[in-house]
Symmetry: C2
Subunit: 406 residues, 2 copies
């Protein structure tokens, strides 16, 4: 383990969240407030809101879906804060982008202790949300009739055509990703879905856009999550067990799918993951758990290749073999030649839920509780030292990667 | 002058913008692209896009008005960039918030050279824009029938009641602010309105919300502006005459008007201005030009008090006397006991235009050309060393202040 070779960027000294799901009675401000309060209450040695020097919040559809703008002002009111508040929008990576900019604020030395939040209230718009979500795609793709399941179906079909070798096992692997993530969420009290699905059940679920079926898709959700970051030097003011952010990287690429060199790989995942590994002197072999952006199961498959964990075109084989070998375990790890990697120990976007602006922050919450050994029923049993969180927006136009360590 | 006591945060080595106005044939991406290109072409020693390491963009209504989200991805496509792009939203201070976060990125040491842009395309929605803009207000205020002219009318009426002493000169002063700013824009080739208005004409314009008349209001506009920031150390790679950012501050407050202690003063202006002066060891006496957020003329009046330039309740007198003394000059300065201050030498939001997300960036563009002596027909004639830029969102729920020096 080479963690200590790199100076941490920041320490996470608190993390909180709401339940994810169809939260009909809560407005977006209340969700963020609840997550913020839960986060402040999680600080071992206590914190007063006057100790928060700045805030970074991420959300995507608050404006079109919730008819709300100037989020800093709304949040200043809800939270009773007069500190600088910045609002970031990066579609489903809005939360990751807020964390990335909060890390920048701490790196800059301008602020020591910062509140980060992500939130989304999606269920208010019913099925109109599919149109709103397409703001994160190329208008030509929307005009041609695509919604996100269709875009990811295009990627999944191409992946299976190029690398699946016509085998049933490749289709099975796409279902196993979802089955595994649902299995991981069973003990997660915050998760939207706590129900087992076999790969067979997933393969029989309604066809949405061939080959994407309903149970390959993450749900439409409401929810919020929050973190408190501080400098490594100040961490012990707040807790004896801080979790450190060792890398914070973001990459951006063309929003369109049709202009890309490859649609079976996400360039921003490659760029941000490589930059994060470079920043920490770690490799994928050092990572024990990963929070991966499994908005559709093919995205988790591509991550395993884009991060270097499996070679290009082979992740589906790795998934298939790992699933068969580990399906009776509490967590089913992905096994490669060198090590084991547990992906989405709390259920990921698939089962925990995907309130888009909250997801990037929820990922670090999950990593935080796991690394501290406080994940309750869903705690990974082996001692953990490292976690990677991967949050993307659109079809991968933006990606943030954070590496955490104890 | 005590500028050199404080280490600059960043250097501005390029600045560009589009014309502001009703730009029916340009979409928002093109506006930002044009401003970015104009900005890159302004770099004295040249710059290649590969030298840009990150981008920060600000816009408010792109999502509701332009049906566009994931702006980082759209911009990556337009600009052909794979660098980290962050999108900030802070209503009319979205541009200022982008600059503030870009300064943070440079302070952090993570990036040396950063592109900042602000843009807005507002005319597409015709008068529906008044509703969209209310996303930046308290929903209770919107529900009660308020739009922004009404909110600022409430502030203006209260100001005139509390401090106007029932005098005609106070009402005149509110008109003189607009008359002066229109006068300043006459030679500004980018400005939306290049036409003189006497205070009498302004006082006779249509009543919008008593006492706010049409010519007290900034217009609905399309446009974009961009800056290139780099570290002070690298500035001379790009130009022999960089302009330095000496302070970059942001403050946030409750979005609602009805909950505030005072509605004749903007708390965030006070907080951000005081923090910026503290950061530079300068006072308002050292500032030679100010780009002030004159969305409605009463806002410029309040700024003159909130920044300390005039004492509380006396700015209208200072404005009245200054206007009478200076109305034949190219620029009409505000005179107080210690010095003279030229506010909005290019016409401000009132005459130059107010594409909301672009405004904060446009202000630094104006300050940049003025400090470099390149403002053409609208160049302030005395040698300039310092400028302050003041950008607010909503009714002052957020404020960014930047102080620039040579």
């Amino acid at each position: 383990m080479t963690i200590n070779q790199s100076k941490p960027i920041a320490a996470i000294v608190g993390a909180g969240r709401t339940k994810f799901g169809e939260l009909w009675y809560d407005d977006p401000e209340k969700l963020l407030f609840d997550a913020g309060l839960n986060c402040m209450q999680s600080v071992d040695k206590g914190i007063h809101r006057n100790q928060l020097e700045a805030c970074y919040f991420g959300s995507f559809l608050y404006q079109s879906t919730n008819k709300m703008g100037l989020v800093p002002g709304h949040m200043a009111k809800e939270l009773g804060l007069n500190v600088p508040i910045t609002m970031t929008e990066a579609a489903c990576a809005s939360g990751g982008s807020a964390i990335y900019n909060a890390c920048m604020a701490i790196r800059s030395g301008q602020y020591d202790t910062v509140l980060v939040g992500g939130f989304e209230k999606m269920t208010d718009r019913s099925n109109k949300i599919s149109d709103d979500l397409m703001f994160a795609a190329d208008p030509n793709e929307f005009g041609a009739g695509y919604t996100f399941p269709g875009l990811y179906a295009t990627m999944m079909a191409r992946y299976m055509y190029d690398y699946g070798e016509g085998k049933q096992e490749c289709e099975d692997a796409m279902a196993m990703v979802a089955s595994k993530n649902h299995h991981h969420a069973i003990k997660n009290e915050y998760a939207q879905f706590r129900r087992e699905f076999t790969p067979e059940a997933i393969k029989k679920s309604s066809l949405v856009a061939h080959p994407v079926r309903l149970l390959h898709c993450s749900p439409v959700s409401d929810g919020a999550a929050a973190l408190i970051l501080t400098t490594p030097e100040k961490a012990h003011t707040y807790t004896d067990t801080p979790i450190y952010i060792l890398a914070s990287q973001q990459a951006t690429n063309d929003v369109s799918l049709y202009t890309r060199e490859s649609i079976t790989s996400i360039k921003t995942t490659k760029l941000a993951t490589a930059a994060a590994f470079k920043e920490t002197n770690l490799t994928y072999k050092d990572i024990q758990i990963a929070e991966v952006h499994d908005c559709f199961t093919v995205e988790e498959v591509m991550f395993l290749e884009d991060s270097g964990y499996y070679e290009k075109g082979t992740a589906w084989k790795g998934i298939y073999e790992s699933y068969e070998a580990g399906k009776t375990k509490k967590h089913t790890p992905y096994i490669n030649e060198q090590n084991e990697l547990i992906v989405n120990p709390g259920g990921g976007l698939k089962a925990d839920g995907h309130p888009v602006g909250a997801t990037g922050v929820r990922q670090l919450h999950e990593a935080w509780v796991q690394l501290r050994g406080q994940a309750g029923g869903q705690q990974v049993e082996s001692g953990l030292n490292t976690a990677l969180c991967h949050n993307i927006g659109g079809t991968g136009a933006i990606c943030t990667v954070h590496i955490l360590g104890r």
